[in-house]
Symmetry: C2
Subunit: 249 residues, 2 copies
């Protein structure tokens, strides 16, 4: 029987921390993992390009969760230090990966295969490759840590190649009902329903603004489809009782 499988994401990069670049990888990875592998992301951290900070977080999060995904820091420049840091974290040699070296040499051609590009073939000893169909330089998996690049379009093109390394878990199903009401109008009832289904269903309530009106999205999430249905029946009953309009999208 499938069980719960979880993951963390470690976003490595000064450009995200400083607010210069808007992260887009968290939402993409999290959605993909849940839909395709039944894996839930339970913690995300954004940290700077500092080796000792990377090492500490890699060790901690890889121990705490079934999988750790890192994004960023696997390019050719001096500020790309993810592979070195993971090698140090796990006390593995940081060396050329034979297949990665061949892939990159073939992609760039021998003459243009300079030091910066060669650097992208250096990984922790024993790492397995995550192939990159858009710009050749592969990601890699070291123990339960999957390292992907920071550029979203490249990361997105590689994600399917992570699949073979992942154990499948229980998918979290979710259902959203968008209501034209304010949170406080249903807060008490929602709390009661949540209490009743405490162990099985998570109920979230998120305000929105649409068509010039205030609304609330009620999001229910559960690994059990039948429990999800039961909760949503109760929600619909509540909505009818309170004469709240539903926004259909």
């Amino acid at each position: 029987m499938k069980k719960k499988v979880n993951a963390a994401i470690l976003i490595i990069g000064n450009e995200i921390l400083s607010g210069r670049t808007q992260d887009k990888n968290l939402a993409f990875i999290s959605n993909w993992l849940n839909s395709n592998c039944g894996i839930s992301v339970e913690e995300v951290r954004v940290i700077p390009d500092i080796q000792k900070v990377i090492i500490k977080n890699v060790l901690l999060l890889s121990k705490k969760f079934n999988y750790l995904f890192t994004t960023g820091g696997i390019g050719p420049t001096h500020d790309d230090i993810t592979a070195q840091s993971i090698s140090k974290a796990f006390k593995l040699k940081y060396e050329y990966h034979k297949e990665a070296y061949e892939i990159l040499e073939k992609y760039y051609g021998k003459r243009k295969f300079n030091d910066g590009r060669k650097k992208m073939a250096k990984m922790p000893r024993g790492a397995k490759l995550i192939y990159n169909p858009s710009s050749a330089a592969p990601g890699f998996i070291t123990k339960n840590v999957l390292s992907l690049p920071g550029v979203p379009s490249i990361l997105n093109s590689m994600i399917e190649n992570c699949k073979k390394y992942l154990i499948k878990g229980l998918k979290v199903h979710s259902k959203t009902i968008n209501l034209f009401t304010v949170e406080s109008n249903i807060a008490r009832n929602l709390g009661q329903i949540q209490k009743k289904y405490k162990k099985f269903v998570d109920i979230g309530s998120y305000p929105f603004f649409r068509l010039g009106k205030i609304g609330v999205a009620i999001v229910t999430r559960s690994t059990s489809l039948s429990k999800l249905k039961s909760v949503n029946k109760e929600l619909i009953k509540l909505v009818k009782l309170k004469k709240i309009k539903i926004l259909k999208i």
Copy 2:
């Protein structure tokens, strides 16, 4: 003399972790803190709406950094548990804040001031208010922890009201040069320049795609304007030597 002041951000919310909602608060808060207060964000965590997880992270991050900003979880529903959790973390009573209660009662009117809305006036004892010009419900500061809502438009409208609680630090200045080249073409030289200015300037290198071409943004960051100028002079020299085109924006 001003010194370095740092901060962490704790993003509280299942909707961000699951990928349902794209976070926009990290970049906004980080940019605002640096530009307006000279405060650098050095770590960000995204965690679920689980009390013990919130408590652990609030204690840890508020100790490790000068300030901790929390986003999310201060609304009227059962899944809004930030105020309770911070109260527990610091062993403070969770109770009605007199002024917050008055503000909300006035905003909604006595008749419509229901339990959900009253909940938004409950805070850790001794908390000070962060006023909310767009939807009344205030944020609050407890010790060095500033709690803001999750909805970006509301958070943005409140950020100026955080200022009076913050000590000003050294602003990080930054300069970006966009080059039409590939990272590996300048990786070695960049590394040398970074080594020379190790303690004073951070040099980041970020690939981009624009006008159908690949390019690299070289971002230099420093609290010293003069050091930043020196580095950028060296960069321009390098660019000329390598005959690289600069993209002017």
